[in-house]
């Protein structure tokens, strides 16, 4: 079975941003996303998920390189300054490229 290269963009940020972020992903041209609840620590201190204001989410988007790049850049520009957020991009292979 053939496999095709795609990008996996992972975003870890504040739970409060979930619906905003999903709107941005929908607009970016990506076909889907996956969200899990998370906690963690970074420049904005410890976020221990004890209550909504200190909870994180971890969002994954599988998409083509172009979308990953532009979505990452857009999120960086709009949200990095004001929100606890990190972004990273990895190479992945998928079986059905048309899904992403």
């Amino acid at each position: 079975m053939n496999s095709y290269p795609k990008k996996l963009l992972t975003i870890v940020t504040e739970a409060a941003l979930e619906s905003t972020l999903i709107r941005e992903i929908d607009r970016s041209g990506a076909h889907g996303y996956t969200v899990t609840d998370a906690r963690g620590k970074g420049d904005h201190g410890v976020r221990d998920a004890g209550w909504p204001a200190s909870a994180n989410i971890r969002v994954e988007v599988v998409c083509d390189a172009e979308t990953a790049r532009s979505l990452a850049a857009l999120l960086h520009d709009r949200y990095y300054q004001d929100y606890a957020m990190i972004l990273f991009i990895a190479d992945v292979e998928v079986l059905r490229p048309e899904k992403f």
Binding site: T20, H44, G45, V46, A49, G50, A53
Partner: protein, 310 residues
């Protein structure tokens, strides 16, 4: 003697400060919050069924005005005395102009165990007082610029968890009336204090975590977090006096005025004034004002109200 629910708060703070392994899962926090919000709404709604809404109009207008005023007064203090940035000052002002449901619940428990009665429609005023300061906060931070997406602000504010559950409870209590709500009482009324105890245990753990924020941003926030509620409670008592509320109602309104939001306002500010640093507002509202009100403030407001009405 201290109310035992307060002791749960003390237990939570202590466990948090000692870095105990005690952590309550987020789902338990949500469950407890949902039951409290619905219970408060239901209680108020039952009472609303008994009196024409028109009669309450003056009170409703007064508390909305009070919410605006408190936020507007807090802002210049934060800006001038605190030398905070515009967005931070606006956000903190919104927290203090709005109200805290947990503090309200503690005041209800406090009056209950002292058999002081109060106007039972207070939850309606609680809901009304949550909102105006949020609008003030956003305008103070942004100006009345065209770029503010007021549609999404309104959505954020009125469709947040807190207001939906309070308003929903109010409506159901009002529609079902005292007899209709009776079968729901074992969960929403009889367990109220027990659930409040669990809630305060969690709030203690959360408060302890906010103290880190405090350490970093110094004494101004501590001072503000104590002085502001004292000042607000005076305005609250004055408003209550003008409205002719009972002693219990005066204590409640003083407490509402003195309390600082930590559900509706943080969520709204995070979306609408993202450049405000949430660590500052939560450190003040949760790290200072919430414990101050719960441990010391409410008895003070009780004494002041008794003096004012006596």
């Amino acid at each position: 003697m201290m109310d035992p629910v307060i002791l749960f708060f003390v237990l939570g703070i202590t466990a948090g400060l000692l870095r105990s392994e005690l952590r309550l899962p987020a789902a338990v926090y949500e469950f407890v919050t949902i039951v409290l919000l619905l219970a408060i709404g239901l209680k108020g709604g039952i009472e609303l069924a008994k009196q024409p809404l028109g009669q309450l109009l003056p009170q409703m207008v007064a508390v909305v005005a009070l919410g605006f005023v408190l936020a507007l007064l807090a802002f210049p203090i934060l800006r001038k005395l605190g030398r905070l940035q515009r967005a931070d000052a606006a956000s903190i002002a919104a927290h203090y102009g709005s109200v805290s449901v947990g503090t309200y619940a503690v005041a209800v428990a406090y009056l209950g165990s002292r058999q002081v009665s109060f106007e039972e429609h207070m939850p309606l005023l609680l809901v009304l007082m949550e909102v105006p300061a949020i609008i003030v906060g956003i305008i103070l931070a942004r100006g009345v610029s065209r770029s503010t997406r007021w549609g999404s602000v309104v959505h954020e504010v009125f469709l947040g968890k807190g207001i939906v559950l309070l308003l929903g409870g109010l409506f159901i209590g009002w529609a079902a009336g005292p007899v209709g709500v009776e079968p729901l009482e074992p969960l929403f009324m009889d367990l109220f204090k027990g659930i409040l105890a669990l809630f305060l245990l969690e709030m203690g753990l959360i408060t302890a975590a906010q103290l880190t924020g405090l350490r970093r941003y110094g004494v101004f926030l501590v001072g503000f977090g104590i002085a502001m509620p004292l000042f607000s409670s005076v305005l609250g008592i004055a408003t209550a006096w003008m409205l002719g509320l009972s002693l219990g109602g005066t204590v409640i309104l003083a407490t509402l005025a003195a309390s600082a939001s930590y559900i509706a306002v943080p969520a709204a500010m995070r979306i609408s004034v993202p450049e405000a640093n949430p660590t500052l507002s939560l450190a003040a509202a949760l790290g200072v004002t919430f414990p101050f009100n719960v441990l010391i403030g409410i008895p003070i407001y009780h004494a002041m109200a008794a003096w004012a009405l006596g």
